[in-house]
């Protein structure tokens, strides 16, 4: 071999060592090339660390790659202990067949050429016969192997970094693919650099990597391309951040997504903007749900409206016959002709009480309906609890007398006021008192007490000495129509009162509850916030209601059928005319009877339709007109306008008498210009008061 030959081999080997970045492939190629050049049939690349091995000690070595011998190849990956003579940082020949056979388990090889790779290990070439000369091989390959050592270290470092990079990328991609948000990033020219799997799917790609290099022109959302471009431009050029912008995005597969889009500038490590980072949140499901909610709410409102209408209509329809029942029974109870026997008066009284009970039920149902529809209106104001309790006690006395119940009232002197609706609080307290009396034992006791709590609240307790309630029964309280089995007890009730009370108390910002034990009576309580600045003391009152022969108390009892004294305006010689327009003959007959029986100074005219009523009005120019609202053809409101159009009738009082008993009906009537609005069934006294007031107003 000449010098030129050596250089040629070196040149070729130098090229080889720089031809691979994969360390395993590089080792394999170089090993095979060494066999090619040396003619040795078997070779191995073995790694060991001499720096950390004591001189003369055995060296821990790992067999990395073997060619040409199966038995030696079986050691690949194994760590072997090499005697100091075998593992060395110097190249050389070992001719020791027993040693080689023991260490490498290859009895056929008596000669080993070690080509040291500095800092790494060495190539070990094996053959069975000693070559003519190996010295030149040792010298020849030394620079090649020095170079290989450096290249191998670089390869290994590159592989470690690549592995870390891949792991990091994999982790990042896993995170990106796991989050339920579409993420992408673009360069300054609008080319996609990467994305997560969700975004890729929208773009119609099965692999996020396939998005790289594509532009918006290749995406399915062409209709939004310009808007996206404008957004991107704003983010890149102005460093703007776009947050929560909503888009409807057409995506692959013909679907549409509603998205909130967030875009921020993508910056490099120096803070320079290098693109756009976008994140889309799919709110399609939420939008759909919102839409469904809106639809459901509309449907519920419609259903609620229908229900309210139904309840209102039912109320109207039920009140109309009740008007006759309660009205006539009131007239009969007055026994103005004096021809009713005591027994007949009792029977009339039963009719009247049954009617009022039914009316109470209707009113409670109406209230419940209004609460459920959220249409109940409260007049929240400072309310004196003492006044409420006094009112209630007055109303409830007849019931206590009937059942021989002792009623005690204990109001703390400085109880003061609560923030509530007076009438509704009264309704609640009355309900609790009524229950305490109704469900009490005969000759039992009811104590209503009121006292302040430390937390600016006031509590009203209604304690009875009844049979008490078990825990299970308590759990069933405040539920609609659940009377805890009292349906068959003969005690009147609807199963609505407590429910209504609870809703009313809660609407007033309070709490209602019960404490009870079987055999120990029950205490129903209401807790309400005190009214600011309304805590002035009142004198403590302890009242014991004496049992006495009084009327049964109910809601309508506040307007008892005690008939008013007949009133006559003091205008001598004046004949007062009253016109009643009503299509229901029973109602007509009732009012006719009331007026003719108890306001004899009034001339009574009647008409069964709006047109007939108008004709009567023109003819008689009445001083007072009473009219139904639900007249066939022309309703009461239209009729009112037409009456106002008659000469001389511009100011005549017109009172509406209607079974439309909702607050809104009453308000509407008064707003329309009716002098008064009286709901059916008529309370005779209330009715007569209104009539007298109207006549009096006309007089003035």
């Amino acid at each position: 071999m000449t010098e030129t030959n050596y250089l040629a081999v070196l040149y070729e080997m130098a090229l080889l060592t720089s031809s691979e970045m994969d360390s395993d492939a590089l080792i394999g190629k170089l090993l095979q090339r060494l066999l090619f050049h040396t003619g040795f049939p078997v070779g191995a690349y073995i790694e060991y660390d001499l720096q950390h091995t004591a001189a003369g000690a055995e060296v821990e070595a790992r067999v990395v790659r073997v060619l040409g011998c199966n038995r030696l190849a079986a050691l690949t990956g194994q760590v072997r202990s090499l005697p100091a003579g075998l593992a060395s940082d110097k190249s050389g020949v070992v001719e020791d067949a027993p040693l080689l056979a023991r260490v490498f388990e290859t009895p056929d090889h008596s000669v080993m050429l070690r080509l040291s790779v500095p800092g790494c290990g060495g190539f070990f070439l094996f053959t069975s016969t000693m070559p003519d000369s190996t010295l030149h091989l040792v010298h020849l390959f030394t620079p090649v192997l020095n170079n290989f050592s450096r290249v191998l270290k670089m390869c290994r470092r590159y592989e470690r970094q690549t592995e870390l990079h891949l792991k990091s990328n994999f982790m990042l991609q896993s995170v990106l693919d796991t989050i339920p948000v579409r993420v992408y990033w673009k360069d300054l020219h609008g080319r996609y650099l990467g994305c997560n799997r969700l975004f890729a799917r929208d773009a119609g790609l099965d692999d996020p990597a396939r998005l790289q290099g594509l532009s918006a022109a290749e995406m399915p959302w062409q209709s939004l391309r310009q808007q996206f471009r404008d957004d991107d431009h704003a983010v890149v050029a102005e460093g703007k951040t776009i947050l929560g912008k909503e888009y409807t995005l057409p995506v692959a597969g013909g679907r549409e997504l509603t998205l909130t889009v967030n875009k921020v500038p993508l910056r490099d490590e120096t803070g320079e903007v290098i693109g756009v980072l976008g994140a889309y949140d799919d709110i399609s499901a939420r939008k759909q749900m919102e839409l469904q909610l809106i639809e459901a709410r509309a449907a519920a409102e419609q259903a609620n409206h229908a229900k309210s209408e139904f309840v209102s209509n039912m109320s109207h329809e039920l009140r109309t016959p009740l008007n006759a029942i309660i009205g006539f029974s009131q007239l009969l109870e007055g026994n103005h002709e004096g021809n009713l026997t005591s027994s007949q008066l009792d029977e009339v009284s039963e009719i009247y009480h049954a009617g009022t009970h039914l009316l109470g039920l209707i009113n409670q149902l109406l209230d419940l309906s209004k609460i459920e529809a959220g249409r109940i209106e409260l007049s929240m104001e400072p309310v004196s609890v003492q006044d409420v309790i006094n009112d209630c006690v007055a109303l409830i006395r007849s019931l206590t007398a009937k059942r021989s119940i002792e009623l005690q009232v204990m109001v703390q002197p400085d109880a003061g006021s609560v923030r509530a609706d007076y009438m509704r609080l009264k309704q609640v307290v009355l309900n609790l008192l009524s229950n305490a009396i109704k469900y009490n034992n005969e000759q039992g006791q009811v104590v209503i007490s009121c006292y302040r709590l430390p937390d600016d609240h006031l509590r009203i307790d209604v304690r009875d000495t009844g049979p008490g309630l078990s825990a299970a029964e308590q759990a069933r309280l405040f539920k609609t129509f659940d009377r805890l089995g009292a349906e068959n007890s003969g005690i009147e009730g609807t199963g609505i009162g407590l429910v209504l009370s609870k809703r009313l108390v809660e609407l007033m910002g309070g709490v209602i509850g019960v404490t009870s034990a079987v055999g120990q009576g029950a205490t129903f309580w209401v807790k309400l916030a005190t009214a600011p600045g309304q805590g002035e003391a009142r004198s403590f009152e302890g009242v014991t209601a004496a049992a006495g022969p009084q009327q049964v108390v109910s809601e309508i009892a506040s307007t008892t059928p005690a008939v008013s004294e007949p009133g006559r305006p003091s205008v001598p010689g004046k004949s007062w005319r009253v016109l009643y327009i009503e299509d229901n003959p029973a109602n007509l007959a009732l009012v006719r009877a009331i007026i003719s029986g108890q306001r004899k100074h009034l001339a009574f005219f009647e008409a069964i339709s709006a047109s007939a009523g108008l004709a009567q009005a023109k003819r008689h120019l009445p001083d007072l007109i009473l009219t139904d609202i639900n007249l066939p053809g022309t309703n009461g409101y239209q009729l009112l306008q037409q009456i106002r159009g008659i000469d001389g009738m511009e100011d005549v009082p017109v009172i509406a008498i209607s079974a439309n008993a909702l607050d809104r009906d009453i308000r509407r009537g008064l707003d329309a210009g009716f002098f008064d609005y009286i709901v059916k069934p008529l309370n005779v006294a209330t009715f007569l008061k209104a009539v007298d007031r109207a006549v009096l107003a006309r007089t003035h």
């Binding site: 000449t2 050596y6 040149y11 050049h37 003619g39 049939p41 078997v42 011998c69 199966n70 038995r71």
Partner: protein
């Protein structure tokens, strides 16, 4: 096993039919000429009978992509069984441009300390032909592989020496050298031959002179790997028998001289383990072209006499083996290879 002279290749189907009729398994290859009685024969057949048919494979389609090639080599590697001594005898279609790569792939797969020997077969005119056959089929672009149990291997020698002057194949693919020293390959080749040997080579006489002035791939142990240029493309590219890796350092070799007995002596020196008679001998067609028929026959006679064996075989288009017995196998040109070819006590 049958080696059929190219001149009698048309008779192969008849041979196959006859073997099938007799129930004899058949493997074989077409060689440019046959060797027998120390002479080359344009016609005829050399038949080698095995008392037991060796494990063998006949594969084609080796000119396809790398995956198919790897799969083929893996199959061949499977012929040897761990712990078995023996020789893998390979006959490649000489038209394959990647025989050296096949060998490297096979060696990576086989990892078994066995001997390798073999040749490449086909027409001396380098016309594609289905030069490999079995009893059932005849294929080209393939390899015939036999594992010869207990066979001690072969002796291979070419005797070519490495000169001092080197060139570099700066662009090469497979067995085609496009440029040498960054110039068209033929220009450099022609200039080198003219400067070193005073011979003017033209496109017309290229084939006549190529065998005389082969390239050598330089190896560190000093023994070059001969690559005989056998064809010239219009763009000045040179085609060799055997691959030339890109950026290989090449030498324009001194071919063996007529009358030299160096090659024979080197072979005899290593052939003590070849005990059978006759021996199988394959003589490179390019070497014969360089030396001439009579000189080649003289060399064969000298070898037979020195070994004291009869030699049968033929002309080969390339030779597989190692200069050192049991050494790393390479694909050579211009070599003589002798083996027992399984004719050993089994």
């Amino acid at each position: 096993m049958a080696f059929v002279a190219e001149g009698d290749a048309p008779a192969i189907p008849m041979l196959q039919a006859e073997c099938r009729r007799l129930g004899l398994p058949l493997l074989g290859a077409v060689l440019p000429e046959l060797l027998g009685d120390n002479h080359f024969h344009r016609q005829g057949m050399v038949a080698i009978f095995f008392s037991r048919m060796p494990r063998h494979l006949l594969l084609d389609g080796l000119n396809s992509d790398g995956v198919a090639l790897d799969q083929a080599m893996t199959k061949i590697a499977g012929l040897s069984i761990a712990g078995e001594q023996g020789t893998l005898f390979l006959v490649f279609d000489g038209m394959l441009p990647n025989i050296a790569s096949c060998l490297e792939g096979l060696y990576r797969n086989i990892s078994e300390q066995i001997n390798f020997t073999g040749i490449s077969a086909g027409s001396e005119t380098f016309k594609p032909m289905p030069c490999l056959f079995s009893g059932q089929r005849q294929v080209g672009n393939g390899v015939l592989a036999l594992f010869l149990h207990h066979d001690p291997g072969a002796v291979l020698e070419h005797g070519y020496q490495v000169p001092e002057k080197m060139v570099m194949a700066t662009a090469a693919q497979g067995n085609c050298i496009t440029s040498i020293d960054w110039r068209p390959a033929f220009d450099v080749y022609r200039q080198s031959v003219l400067e070193n040997y005073g011979v003017t080579i033209t496109a017309e006489n290229f084939y006549q002179y190529g065998a005389h002035f082969p390239f050598g791939l330089i190896r560190a142990d000093g023994i070059p790997l001969v690559r005989i240029p056998v064809a010239l493309a219009e763009d000045g590219s040179l085609f060799c028998v055997g691959e030339i890796p890109e950026n290989s350092v090449l030498a324009l070799l001194h071919a063996v001289s007529a009358g030299s007995s160096d090659t024979v002596q080197a072979m005899v020196h290593k052939a003590s383990f070849l005990v059978s008679d006759p021996l199988c001998c394959f003589y490179c067609a390019g070497r014969r072209m360089h030396l001439g028929v009579s000189e080649a026959e003289r060399e064969v006679s000298q070898l037979a006499a020195a070994l004291d064996r009869r030699l049968i075989g033929g002309l080969s288009l390339g030779e597989i083996g190692s200069i050192r017995q049991g050494g790393y196998p390479l694909f050579h040109n211009a070599a003589i290879v002798c083996s027992s070819l399984g004719n050993v006590d089994d």
